[in-house]
Amino acid sequence: MKEKPVKGERRVFMTGNEVCAWAALAADADIMFGYPITPQTDIMQYWTRLAPKYGKKFLQTEDEISAGFTTLGAVIAGKRAFSATTGPGNVLFQEPMSMAEMMRIPVVLIIPMRGGPSTATVIYSQQEVTMTAFGGNGEGFRVVYSTAGHQDLYDYTIKAFNTAWKYRFPTFVLSDGYQGKMRESLTIYDPAERGIEMVKAEPMLGLPGIPGVDRPTRHLRNTYNTEEELYEVVMQIARDFEKAAPEIVEWQDFDTDSEMDVLILAHGVVSRAAQGALPLLKNEGIKAGHFRPITLRPMPEEQMRAAAARANRVVVVESAYGQFLKLVKETLYGMDKPIDAILRPGVGITAEEIVAEIKERR
């Protein structure tokens, strides 16, 4: 019996990137593949420091395309493998992630978002929402958790492994440079002690027995000869994704039970500013609520629409120039509801700034 990296429950004070490494260990991940890029590199560094103690492995590849494909290779071989990247690295990851969508290869990718477009900043943004949810030449058959702090990073990194392996869609944990680099407190725990059972990682190829005799043949394909053949496959993935969506969606709401002047929509770390803005707005005599989708893909549509229905207007707040706003518009389509937005691409947002903007636009 291997020694467990996390035993019982423990209150700790660490950076978000370190949290991700601990969470992957707690989730019993076998191996990480990666290529360094700020602000993700610390995840690799913490993993390489911790992993050997628990019989886990690491491989630094020549670039992110390779990191993506080697991760998929390990998964096909039956390993619970994962990677982490950001920014331009996330761009390169799109090809392997597309293949994972097509071949239904479960994979976990952690993304502490940095500024964009291109090299931009190594600091912070929420500008990788579109790419993470819909990147690659596919249909966005992916699960994206957007975290708002270190407890989330721990909880959802562990959960991402189970979501990926249960539903067999690439699963992403969206963090950001702030969360990656900042230190705050959280509780780490052994998932088993909280009744969380890790879905088993099993080989997808090279199974025992003669194919077609002892067991059905297994043919993993990402290439098809005819339009009709491809259509059938993609439509099956779409049906599976839509069926799984209600089981996967997660959200949080704050003060949304009664009628509101304004509903603030925000995800990730910006949700913390929105939460901080609520009491300040109340002091100003503005009835405000906040809805935070935890899954950006699939989106908790029903729940967001229900919250928006109780508000006179909605305000979208994000550290990007309308990436989350697009998802909101799609979700609220057909509702007669004014949508306003506070867009700060690549820049952090504070509670005070949200309050000032909402007061000004009243």
């Binding site: 900042m182 770390v269 500013a273 509670a351």
Partner: protein, 221 residues
């Protein structure tokens, strides 16, 4: 309400270390703390900024518009941190490192460096690399506290404990965590070095206390 602290200096002055120690001490005391470094693409050089928030409840966004206390340890750090200062802010700077302009450059239309009497006392040829430019301190600050921590550290203690003196000053000015807890955090971080050389512990404690002694009033505005 969270106590919000900005610490800024040149790379190597140790602002990230003292920000970490402050946050660790607060966490150990059972408070909520968020520490975040501001980092750029530079590998070295550039202004290093640390943001610390300490509160009894969970802290919302990791950055904030205005700080309760801003500590700036170089001319460039003064410029970079100006945006976090308002009338509620206690602004601390090291006057042995930062030369404040005595006359507002915009008013009389000459360069601050010329307006600074110290520049006129210059007898040797001006060496650009050594030339100390002056900066305008943030006039809006509620309180401005000059410290000579760098000079004192050099003369009385050791240049390397300069940052611990600054930590002492911040501790006294904010009253946000106890001295004992900060000492425990220093121990946790430097315990190995202290064990090898007990004099280092004494030196750090003296620096902490000397720094505290530089600030008169306890508590931020």
């Amino acid at each position: 309400m969270a106590v919000r602290i900005v610490l800024a200096g040149e790379g190597g002055q140790g602002v990230q270390v003292i920000a970490n120690i402050l946050a660790e001490a607060a966490y150990a005391e059972g408070k909520e703390a968020v520490y975040i470094p501001n980092f750029g693409v530079e590998q070295r050089g550039g202004v290093s900024i640390a943001f610390v928030q300490i509160d009894d409840k969970r802290i919302d966004s990791p950055k904030f518009p205005k700080a309760d206390i801003v500590v700036a340890l170089s001319n460039r750090a003064v410029d970079r941190t100006r945006q976090y200062v308002d009338e509620r802010t206690t602004f601390v700077y090291d006057d042995s490192l930062v030369a404040a302009a005595e006359i507002h450059e915009d008013v009389i239309g000459i360069q601050a460096v010329e307006a600074d009497p110290r520049s006129q006392r210059q007898t040797e040829a001006v060496d650009d690399s050594k030339q100390r430019k002056t900066v305008r301190l943030p006039e809006s600050a509620g309180t401005i506290i000059p410290l000579s921590a760098n000079d004192i550290a050099k003369k009385e203690l050791h240049p390397r404990v300069f940052n611990v003196m600054i930590l002492g000053a911040v501790l006294k000015a904010t009253g946000v965590v106890s001295v004992e807890q900060v000492k425990a955090a220093l121990e946790a971080r430097l315990g190995g070095k202290f064990a090898k050389n007990p004099e280092l512990r004494d030196l750090n404690y003296r620096a902490l206390e000397r720094g505290m002694g530089l600030v008169e009033h306890v508590g931020v505005n």
